[in-house]
Amino acid sequence: MVKERETLSEYEAGRYQRQLPLWGVEGQEHLRCARVLVAGVGGLGTIVAAYLASAGVGFLRLVDHDRVVISNLNRQVLFQATDIGREKTAAASERLQSLNPSIRIEAIPRMLDKETVDELTQDIDLIVDALDNFTTRFLINRAAFTRRLPLIHGAVRGFFGQASTLIPGLTACLQCLIAHSPPPEVFPIIGGTCGVIGAVQATEAVKVLTGKGKPLTNRLFSWDGQVGEGTILIVERNPHCVICGGDSDKTALPLGDRNPLAGGNIILSEPHKGK
């Protein structure tokens, strides 16, 4: 596993100059040593992955079984017209690698389903939900809560979007929040909505990984782009939830002893345990 260092290279000090004041070398090292799964490389996934790559998250696993189609291009800004027909993970990883040559990217052009979810969530510190259906979201939610990994939920439709940070042992899980999954649809969507929610998710991810700021725990951020307004809804766990009910084992927090709510001391002495 990657061992944290005490200083940055000259390249990194220059590259991350504008964010170091927020979390210092220590925070930057937490990002470099982090392994993040971006589940879905579409409207949300392209935005989140771009910001996480630029910020120096050391390892990104991109999972998406789709190829780029022309209707993706109204919002999936990592892709170009010449990418039509290519595997999304291949096109995205190429673009992300050129954004930040110093990180590692793993492109997995496979479907996330109940056969593959265990394998694809192995050796990961944090999961970003950039999926387009709740069936798969619920699978990821179960995996996150079994493995005790933070899960940054995001969803969009038209001018509207939502996001929340789900932490096993601390917050509601997705099953407590969203009881039922809607039927699949070809949903209307614009770039700006993906931009807002993707950026919120990327911000949440770096807050959890660095321990800075206050993540959206037990809070659902709801964006109404139609009028230009964000709202927070305070949400609660279901104590009888089949996934997370009764789980208040705060000693088994994700990412070693980090408690994102404390927003302070982070100990990443125990690298990811790969449960």
Binding site: A179, T231, V235
Partner: protein, 92 residues
């Protein structure tokens, strides 16, 4: 009793952002939604199937807890409750 209904996403367009309603004691969330549906047929069409049942994928929270984990449509309301109505937002 007075309860507040906060509507999100598409529902906001139909009934507005925040609505305060006066209800008789002992009413349930089901009663509230029926009342809202009466006032605003567009909402009823969005939220209810022709059979009169709430569409399965709509998420309703009372004070932050999804009614699916309370008593569903039979969950009683009390004075001061805040009800949040969320249509499905599932894309990515």
């Amino acid at each position: 009793m007075i309860v507040t209904v906060r509507a999100f996403a598409d529902y906001r367009e139909i009934i507005g952002k925040d609505t305060e309603l006066v209800l008789a004691e002992g009413k349930t969330i089901g009663d509230l939604l029926a009342e809202l549906g009466d006032r605003q047929p567009a909402l009823r069409r969005e939220m209810f199937a022709p059979t009169g049942e709430l569409k399965e994928f709509i998420n309703i929270f009372i004070n932050g807890r999804n009614i699916a984990f309370l008593n569903d449509m039979g969950t009683p309301l009390v004075d001061g409750d805040t009800i949040a109505l969320f249509p499905p937002v599932a894309g990515g």
